[in-house]
């Protein structure tokens, strides 16, 4: 779930269960041969500019009819994610040192490298309950180095009006757990030097934390002396180079087992509900209107992101703090889709309005034009336009010395921004039931590079460098 950093944490922060509700499984489609398995496979390559995130993804959707409208669909996915993503620290006109080995040159966006692999699978079982009613039960699971997720969903659909109208209602839930690389969940809104303080029972001078990549403390095999559980003490973190960072009083709730400290895990839960109305408007037109409501609670912060503390006069960066987000989020959206059949071509149009209690308001417009070129080919230009307002607690940086806000994050994905995507899909039918396709999309995100509250030297810097990404996809669909 992450096209950004080592975890679904980053991606999932913005939303609910990693996509359980709302992925339609069109089971009764013209051309679906009786009992044959329908397989839709795809390879995706996603690459951002300037050495940022790169993802290679392989997925397959296997749909097996079980007779009389009953269907089972299995979708396995593998992602390989590499590259680097913004830490949340702003660009500075000076070189920046985050730890002894993690430095960023002047006028460069601070990035953090990572490499991860994600495995996911989802299963959906669609069952007709009677001629007019269907239910879909789904389950999903995903795992990566620092993030695991389990989810389940149930949807009910009922047809009315001679099957011209369909009402659907669905509910889904997910349980996620985050175990940050390095084993420590930092304290939020705490200076970097003390954010990773962990309870330990080490006598002064006897703390041996090894840095996994020399930038974050790693708690494995930290102690050799067994101690009583739940002891909380002041301790020191020794860096790989031997420097000692003295920390404040340690964190809480860390179990101490046999002399080593258990890795810290944080949980997150989400419940989402959706009601939808699909209506055949006329022979050529189909529309859908959905309302969704979701609640997430638990650990919603990104454990890897930081925010720069800047001098209130000069605008120079003087320190960094870890970010902190609220521990609950209420999300809502209204989504409208229209499909229109011209002579041979089809237009797909959708609009979504999204709002949540973090202050985010967003609009999404999506348009696909399915252009038929003879019996076996089609070309589909695609366009998407997205805008969002900033989260209430989004700050590009904080003024050092000023009162700290309750929550703060410099994650560019919570800022006021616009994103435009242009895509083109080409597809060719092979035989009766197969199709091969290629799709390329260019996505560009822009935000406010020069906000009004930029201070001093910040006024000369680009505080929202934005994002350019190219997405290439190859698809092959067949039946067997």
């Amino acid at each position: 779930m992450q096209l950004e950093g080592p975890s679904c944490v980053r991606a999932a922060l913005a939303a609910a269960s990693c996509g359980l509700l709302g992925i339609a499984s069109p089971s009764v489609i013209a051309g679906a041969a009786g009992d044959a398995t329908q397989a839709d496979t795809a390879l995706l390559y996603y690459a951002e500019h300037d050495g940022r995130v790169k993802v290679s993804e392989a997925t397959a959707r296997l749909e097996q009819p079980l007779g009389d409208g009953e269907t089972v669909t299995v979708t396995p996915t593998v992602d390989v994610i590499t590259g680097a993503s913004p830490t949340g620290a702003t660009i500075s006109d000076q070189a920046q040192t985050f730890t002894t080995t993690d430095t960023t040159p002047a006028n460069t966006l601070p990035l953090k490298s990572f490499s991860d692999r994600r495995y996911a699978i989802s299963v959906d079982w669609e069952q007709p309950l009677d001629r007019l009613t269907r239910s879909v039960l789904g389950a999903s699971a995903s795992t990566e180095k620092d993030y695991n997720s389990l989810g389940a969903s149930a949807t009910l659909m009922r047809d009315f009006n001679n099957k011209l109208t369909t009402l659907s209602a669905g509910i889904s839930g997910s349980l996620d757990s985050v175990e940050p690389a390095g084993g420590i969940v930092p304290q939020g809104l705490t200076p970097l030097s003390s954010a990773y303080a962990v309870a330990s029972a080490a006598p002064a001078g006897n703390s041996d934390y090894e840095y996994e990549d020399s930038s974050r403390p790693h708690i494995e095999d930290a102690l050799t002396t067994p101690v009583a559980a739940s002891t909380t003490l002041v301790h020191a973190i020794t860096t790989a180079s031997g420097a000692v960072i003295t920390t404040g009083s340690g964190g809480t709730g860390t179990a101490i087992v046999n002399g080593s400290i258990a890795r810290q895990t944080k949980k997150k839960e989400s419940v989402d509900g959706m009601i939808g109305l699909t209506q055949v408007v006329n022979r050529r037109t189909l529309m859908q209107l959905n309302y969704s409501l979701g609640v997430s609670s638990g650990y919603l912060t990104d454990p890897y992101k930081i925010i720069s503390m800047i001098n209130g006069t000069s605008g120079e960066t003087v320190d960094y703090r870890t970010e902190l987000r609220p521990d609950s989020r209420l999300r809502q959206s209204v989504y409208w889709k229209a499909v229109y059949h011209l002579n041979e071509d089809i237009i797909h149009f959708s609009y979504r309005y999204f709002w949540d209690d973090w202050g985010i308001r967003s609009n999404t417009v999506d348009l696909h034009y399915h252009f038929v070129l003879g019996d076996d080919f089609y070309v589909e230009p695609q366009f998407r336009y997205y805008t969002q307002s900033a989260a209430d607690f989004y700050h590009h940086s904080l003024v050092d010395g000023a009162a700290l806000p309750r929550y703060a994050s410099a994650d560019y994905r919570l800022a006021k921004m616009k994103s435009t995507s242009y895509g083109l899909k080409l597809a060719a039918a092979i035989g009766k039931d197969s199709e091969v396709s290629a799709r390329v999309t260019y996505m560009k995100q822009t935000g406010n590079s020069h906000p009004a509250d930029a201070i001093g030297v910040q006024r000369t810097l680009d505080l929202y460098p934005g994002l350019d990404a190219l997405i290439a996809q190859l698809g092959y669909s067949f039946t067997f």
Partner: protein, 70 residues
């Protein structure tokens, strides 16, 4: 509350403005390219990208349309 009223009004409008399409006139609607999500894999991949890079997510629905066959 105002949102709820708007949704009900939109739905009502949707339904009241609709033609009565006979079951045998659903030939166009039965085509794969006329489904609400004609390419589920493309859609899932896209949603994955946007959900990872943006603050908003989800909203899409399931079911309905199609040939209306039994």
């Amino acid at each position: 509350m105002r949102t709820l009223a708007m949704i009900i009004a939109c739905s009502a409008l949707l339904l009241s403005g609709c033609a009565d399409v006979k079951p045998w006139d659903r030939d166009l609607l039965a085509q794969k390219k006329m489904q609400l999500v004609p390419a589920p894999v493309d859609n899932a991949l896209d949603e994955h990208v946007y959900f990872s890079k943006e603050a908003a997510s989800g909203g899409q629905g399931v079911g309905g349309g199609g040939c209306g066959c039994n």
